[in-house]
Symmetry: C2
Subunit: 267 residues, 2 copies
DNA sequence: AGATATTTGTTCGTATGTATT
DNA sequence: TAATACATACGAACAAATATC
């Protein structure tokens, strides 16, 4: 008698046959759909691995690849232990910004490109934020200016100043009510902070840059306090143009590899 | 005498000890670094799974989760068969756009948000593309206009028209020399094509919308042929403002779920 | 604070599908 | 067609982390 065929089979079930995709990718999509039709939202939990393998009829390894896919996309976080498992997450800015940097890594991109984009986005973001700043925001903005006082005491200090300068803009971006604008504004500023390097030889005069920035930041705070849209627009435009000029003067250039997390202290 | 510790151990090697990250994530990063320091570029192949497990001292399951991570980020593609394995890829627009949609899924975003962004980006993109269109581009632009001739013959036709109208803009975006602008322009147009739905009850007059679009597209082609920056700027500004007006008039609204690939024919 | 139970993280062995030759 | 080389998928076991008692 011929031996029976093993019950265990790698044959792909009929209902997911048509496109010759990887099973793990199919499962990842099915989990996404399941979450949506089930009405689950960020903070809700997914069933545990064992239950999911039973639900989607696949092995644990395949399921884990599907979960890894969702995790990389920032859609879930996974924890161990009792009551552990996957939790649905709101996709973070950081996760999406990383992916956009991955994309730009394979494009050729110059300081001028970044500053053209910055001029466009940042001015509009700044204007849109008028009337959306609370007192805590103002204190933080003023704190960022205070960080930049005095002349540079070395490279570590120089990097801290730059961090504070760009943090000023991130505060404004967070208060922009248009999520598309806000994302782009944060992204551009992060790009400036982490992926521009200056020629060490011409490292002479950063103080002029810093002084100009502080002056413009002060003008901006006054404009926000007065809720003067036109003045915010004008000040920010001049500010970005000034920053572009200083950056070019100091031989700033884009770093080559955007794939790797920034050193953050490259100055 | 105490028994010797088993050779096989899940203990994480010292060189990757500090942050308590998952091994698969660490391996994914190490592969990224390896690619960079080795000077590999898009199109080059990674070693096979077996070689990679030997190089990074982990099991196939763990390595496959790491590769899955890189695959989801669009950094590699994987194929089976002889000479199969992972190939380094330039991160695609589609992959990064998907991630940005994932992000926006958890934000509240309105037609006005999209059109404010579109006005900002598209005008500048259009101006930047002046002088970068070849004859093939012009033929394609004129083809897109031709697609929109005649009145609507039903919903399928309506969707095809909309597809062609937005394809016009994608052609321009692809010719914009600033990758940051170009990405954003394509993204906004894809968003408009795939994630705006119109109220079926007021489905009456799309023809006016279509006619206006065609008229503006023709004006734009003339402006591009004349390489007239100012005219391109003016025409595109009016075009977007007109499109915004029509969209609001027809009760357009953002679809709720950006997580799922578009039906593309929702109109 | 410590023991325990639960759940994910990792490994290994094996079998199957698929593309190249 | 057959052989080969590779990714894909399954299953069982053990290790590590963590919440609860």
């Amino acid at each position: 008698m011929t031996p029976v065929k093993p019950v265990k089979s790698n044959a792909i079930p009929a209902f997911r046959s048509l496109p010759r995709r990887k099973l793990s990718d199919v499962i990842a999509d099915e989990i996404k759909r399941w979450v949506l039709v089930e009405g689950r939202v960020a903070g809700d939990r997914l069933p545990q691995e064992q239950a999911l393998t039973a639900q989607f009829l696949c092995s644990r390894g395949t399921l884990r690849e599907a979960l890894k896919s969702l995790e990389v996309q920032g859609l879930i976080t996974v924890s161990t232990g009792p009551n552990g498992g996957a939790t649905i997450a709101a996709v973070s800015y950081e996760c999406s910004a990383r992916q956009l940097r991955n994309y730009l890594h394979f494009q050729t991109i110059s300081i001028e490109h970044v500053y053209d984009m910055r001029m466009l986005i940042e001015v509009e973001t700044a204007v849109a934020a008028v009337g959306h700043l609370d007192s805590a925001d103002f204190t933080r903005l003023e704190g960022d200016i205070a960080c930049c006082h005095g002349s540079a005491w070395g490279h570590g200090r120089q990097a801290a100043v730059r961090q504070a300068e760009l943090d000023f803009h991130v505060v404004l971006a967070r208060r922009c009510p248009n999520p598309l604008l806000a994302f782009q504004a944060r992204f551009i500023n992060d790009l400036l902070r982490d992926y521009i390097e200056f020629d060490v030889h011409t490292c002479a005069d950063f103080d002029g840059f810093t002084a100009d920035n502080s002056a413009y930041h002060k003008k901006l705070i006054d404009a926000y306090r007065a809720a003067d849209h036109a003045l915010v627009r004008r000040s920010m435009t001049e500010h970005i143009e000034s920053a572009r000029w200083h950056t070019l003067r100091l031989n700033g250039s884009m770093v080559e590899a955007l794939l790797i997390p920034p050193d953050r202290m490259t100055i």
